[in-house]
Symmetry: D2
């Protein structure tokens, strides 16, 4: 599966401001960037930070006046739609060092509060089967409501309010998984079938020795998703972080199955 | 049903401190205080505040060194165990002025967050039947765990944690009721069958033109409960409020069905 | 001082919805409604709830399609601009019953957390002088930023964020006053000099045996303010409470010193 | 400076439970472990996780009945007491990848809320001088009160309450630093002069190209502190994490300047 991706950001900046951009599809871990371009206009400073984990190379900008970013990419996804429900959890003492921090509470996922609920509601299942039940539970009880959450909304709020957008679904999924002592993190991504089209956020859980995408909104599939970066929760994976107030002008994201023509151009 | 009640408070005070005591059974509204005594030692100041609503007469003290309060009462409860499940909710526009504030969010009961959950989970029922389902839902899903909550714990936390003590059960009950637009408040009380014996807290909901006790812990019955005072939530009905740090020494509460001997003494 | 007030509300309702309106200037307590009209269109139900405290008569509506409310009033304010800084706090044990609930924590004003700060920062002053210092402290440290808060924002957030709108200034003022054991409540009001013109919210503190307006934004004066209603905090005094989702269309508030012509018409 | 460290943990476990222990002084980054022993009794499972960053090697245990851990170490600290106040902040676009996550909000440090306060209060200073002012501000305004916080307490609460223990001082320090766009993290440590002796927590800020210890309690110095591990905040660096309820029996920590005798034994 090859995805043709484009993203366009347009913001107004009143004075010189530091910005961190995380909008490029990662290369590796089940996906390959065949071709990509990123036009950032002429900011005062541009610096790419080599990724520590091969999953995210944030770009720093310092700009004034405006930020215009145009990203286009052709990405091949080689990742199968693994049936994570069949996978076993890794015993805690066998987790690799890099997975351990994802057992801990984070800004938007105060997972310890969910222990009793998770034990009672999902205690009869283990590993992937448990994660699957959690996912289904969220999907069946939550309503996707655009604009129903903001930068303050965490998993506790969303769990009670029973509604949210992709980040809120992912936060609840992550909080439940961690409460069951299964490492869980958040990935930003470009995914087919996300409606309305936008940057997407999904949970990833560590099962059977690897990370697996779990999307409680039901929109994204592993085989059709290009990951941008991963982190503890929404606090880490913002596509644009501004270190001073900036004003939204417009923004668009488009993710499509690559056409024969685009592939021919590429070849 | 006559209840014999005793309560004993013993606190150490380092310096002169203002204290508000709310430990006397109210006289009226389905209960009659046959006999009562309150020994407060010799504080510097004692002042009783005439109750606005016939339900609570707080006593102000200013004391130093120690607070010792000994309360004993014989209270007749005339209140029936109404089947609130059969009662209708009062249409909002017919609520009396005094019930309206109990529709609003309060310190520990941010009820607006529960709208979607309440609509989805209990939307098929109305009035008392809805309240009954909520009560049963809480009782079946929550675990009573002494010491599992503190003065910071609100209905949001308890709803997620699925555990608490009487005040937490009451907070969740109140939050759910208000989210269904049914006025709900909290009462402090002496109740038979509360184990371990202590000051008790229950929800009260406004149905069929009156307030009805609803105890999601399943311990208190209206016919066996002597109310002390009522308020929006735990922020209003504390049995002892100290306006400076004080140190707990010991405290006990005893509620029993009045014996023939005690009744004979009284006669 | 006579104020000419007009308020216009326009909301779209998708289905029959219960609404509670609190937009009429109260009659009494330092202000007199000379003339007023309220046009509510033709809702299915209209019911006025007699005020318990002479300060607020909420109006219940049930309507569908739209809510259009047009309120006009001519109100004489007889309330002086008392110098509350010179007033003494009422000893706790001499507070009237109606003032006591305003010592307690409420939805948006978890005042107990502010004890240490208040003791340290304002501990050298008493009563009105202390309230005055608190007011000045807030005004000098906070920035009024439209849109910087929402229905979730409480005094804790605002205290840290150092910004907000009138309700946030009032919440912090109330929290600080209560932390100093001075009763404090919130009033909705029409006030001259509020810019941009809108429903206004101010704190009221109980000093010298009466309630006194304190506006940390510096915009409202007691002698130029017509109170609508009072409550614990923003949870109680909303000008419009909808018991189902509704959509804002437009809204306006105008408060002016009454012109000679308007007064002549009235005479 | 050589430190002689001992730590003893004793907990009662009702059933087999997974535990993660982080109590060993790290080897490297300005400190050298000359000699160490760790006696864990005979748990069912012991597994050491190779550290990703050379700063923390968590040990997993599975045990039942009881957990007894006895740790002893002789650690040489080579780290100077750098005057961090003289250091410059690293421009955002020059931060190494490993420092970037420490700009983000975390479980206990919702730093974005502190922007306005930090700008207003500390905006006239830069880099280390700014950090120094923040540290002094916290130390002069906060009171160290044992037992005044719990696992729920975050920087927002502590900032308002103006009191706490070492973790709370560190959380506020971290939140303020991040709000000024300076990476900040939390380290657990053994430190001389901590009174009462216990596991200690301090902030570390990234200045002049390296991490520097900042202790707003004023107790720990870099040259007298043996780091155990680092993380975003208290959620990451707990000395003991139990994946089921366990009961505290007793625990002690002792940190002393190594005596000549101990050093002789070692030689």
């Amino acid at each position: 599966m090859k995805l043709e991706i484009s993203a366009s950001l347009n913001y107004r900046l009143s004075e010189p401001v530091d910005l961190m951009l995380q909008i490029e599809a990662a290369d590796g871990h089940g996906q390959h960037v065949i071709d990509a371009s990123l036009d950032l206009g002429e900011p005062d400073v541009v610096a790419r930070v080599p990724a520590a984990d091969g999953l995210c190379e944030p770009i720093w900008l310092r700009a004034s006046g405006s930020l215009r970013a145009e990203y286009r990419a052709l990405v091949e996804i080689n990742r199968p739609d693994t049936d994570f429900r069949a996978l076993a959890a890794v015993p805690l003492h066998r987790l690799p060092a890099e997975a351990i921090p994802y057992l801990n509470e984070s800004r938007y996922c105060p997972s310890n509060k969910f222990h009793a609920f998770v034990e009672r509601r999902f205690g009869d299942h283990e590993g992937g089967a448990k994660i699957g039940r959690m996912r289904d539970w969220i999907e069946s009880r939550f309503t996707y409501v655009s604009g129903s959450s903001d930068a303050e909304t965490g998993a506790l709020d969303s769990f009670v309010e029973r509604r949210g957008v992709c980040r809120d679904y992912a936060h609840v999924m992550i909080a439940l998984a961690r409460a069951a002592h299964i490492p869980a993190r958040m990935a930003s991504a470009y995914a087919l079938r996300v409606s309305p089209q936008d940057f997407h956020a999904v949970a990833e859980v560590y099962l059977g020795g690897d990370w697996h995408l779990v999307d409680a909104t039901g929109m994204a599939r592993a085989s059709e998703t290009a990951r941008i970066c991963v982190g503890r929760d929404a606090a880490d994976i913002s596509f644009l972080t501004a270190y001073r107030d900036i004003a939204f002008v417009d923004q668009s994201v488009k993710v499509e199955r690559a056409t024969a023509r685009r592939l021919a151009e590429q070849a």
